[in-house]
Symmetry: C2
Subunit: 314 residues, 2 copies
């Protein structure tokens, strides 16, 4: 059905959307490494809130050469592995192949545009809570949706075609008129909650909002991000902060994916979620003292874990 699709980065996000598309009848091909043998043998299971299905036959490969040219590539590797895409993507391209990055934060569309041409690039924002609980199982904690848009252009026919195919496969899919604005809007949530949950020692959203001082810091960070977005030319309304706090307060207590990743020993996407927004804010003359501190602390924690200190004995 429809577009021939490749999934590069088959973690929770890539695995979920690929499985949903495949289960819905799309022609999907996964690049896999460590999970390849088991997924070939057992398929992919998706379970949890609003989900319970199995894709018995998963097309998976350990190189993109075996997959060959596709119409659409879902990119769901961690942003810190973007450099790998330079070699992984070319075998998947034909003249009109579209690259849809489902990655978090800022800078991913720019990376793809620089290497493969801006005209191919699309972006998606995933509002969903998933976890890869084993090589062949994905757990869905909260039913969500995806919003897709064009990089630096208004959405047109091809975005509508993708959205139709997603919807037909059971993926609730919206279309962003202004992808960059929506990226900033998502950061209004991710920058405080993903950062503070780690820095405060593993707090969920409810614990952060229940703590008066952290609640205030959350709001302060949100306002910094909104101000930075506006100074960068994205008309993000100031009410977004209180709206997102209210919405989060109405959700059940939630541990951000970044916290779960951090606890699982995985590196943080420090630059995409905090570093790049901070640099753009600074370049636009925005004052973001709290963002500056969150970035510096997470970067140090991440670097320290990558290279544990040599304790000086004294």
């Amino acid at each position: 059905m429809g577009l021939r699709i490749a999934v590069v980065g088959s973690g929770a996000i890539g695995g979920y959307y690929g499985a949903r598309l495949g289960y819905g009848g799309s022609d999907v091909h996964f690049l896999m490494r460590g999970d390849l043998t088991q997924v070939r043998e057992k398929g992919l299971y998706v379970r949890g809130r609003g989900e319970n299905f199995r894709v018995a036959k998963v097309n998976c490969y350990n190189s993109t050469k075996e997959i060959g040219p596709c119409d659409l590539i879902l990119i769901a590797v961690k942003a810190i592995s973007n450099a790998d895409l330079v070699d992984l993507i070319p075998p998947l391209l034909h003249e009109r192949t579209m690259l849809l990055t489902l990655q978090n934060g800022l800078g991913n569309e720019e990376f793809l545009a620089a290497h493969f041409g801006a005209e191919r690039v699309l972006g998606g924002l995933c509002f969903i809570c998933l976890s890869r609980i084993s090589r062949t199982e994905i757990e869905c904690y909260d039913y969500g949706h995806i919003v897709i848009g064009e990089y630096g252009r208004k959405p047109g026919e091809r975005i509508h075609a993708i959205a139709s195919q997603f919807s037909a496969c059971g993926i609730k899919c919206g279309i962003a008129e202004d992808l960059a604005l929506e990226r900033w809007r998502k950061l209004v949530w991710n920058i405080p909650f993903n950062g503070l949950s780690i820095l405060a020692g593993g707090l969920d959203t409810a614990a952060i909002l229940a703590d008066e001082a952290l609640h205030r810091v959350t709001l302060g960070l949100m306002n910094e991000v909104i101000d930075a977005a506006n100074k960068c030319g994205h008309a993000l309304e100031s009410a977004a902060a209180l709206e997102q706090i209210k919405r989060t307060g109405n959700m059940s207590a939630y541990k951000p994916a970044t916290l779960l990743d951090w606890r699982a020993g995985k590196p943080l996407e420090v630059e995409a979620i905090w570093g790049e927004p901070l640099r753009r804010a600074a370049a636009a003359g925005a004052n973001t003292p709290k963002l500056e501190m969150v970035y510096a602390l997470l970067k140090a924690l991440d670097a320290k874990r990558a290279q544990p200190e040599k304790e000086t004995s004294r």
Copy 2:
């Protein structure tokens, strides 16, 4: 010799100054709890940089009633235990007993003044790096000095008498013309380095300054503290930030006492070092976004350790 002295809080700081005074011939009496038997038996050893002595006979007691009235009380309990002082201090008082708090941060003089009368209260700032390495041993990592002053008054005769006795016992002792100003000056260092060393996962001063982003955050915090001090009426010069960064860069890599305490599982003096300065800054209309965040994060970490979360399984 001179003043009859009681030491309340015989950790590293109380133990060190008490031992130095006793070794120099002062009439010193320690309140002790868990360490009492061993210190009575073995005495107190002070070792390390520029120090190597033993006080064989230490006057120690497990109640202040046994000590009875003294001329000077050195107060070196953690600020979080201040409430205990309400019962501990009265048996030590005669009409002119002086209370010298060697505690960190803001609010300790005020606490003592509220309970025992402002006219008794003095404050001391300890610039020294010590660790209680066993019940009977104190290690000195860096030779330092102490600065003492009157609470809310200019220093007079009694401060000079104390300084003389300290000096005679080998304690390098300066006199603060303006104790409150010096407390804020010390916070210019403690607020960033004590806080960031913990929040960044255990970094020493050299590692903090070597990290470009953390270096900038350190300077930002220092400038916030200086601005707050000035708005609170203390004429702290703006050059203090760069001076302290330069001085710290010239020291050998140093893990702040707060970090060592934190690693040893002890609670943080969150309110004295970060909370009270933040509240005074806010009341005076100072803008301290980074201090607000350091405070909120440390408070959350400290509270979380005191009461570990009940993990929700899902």
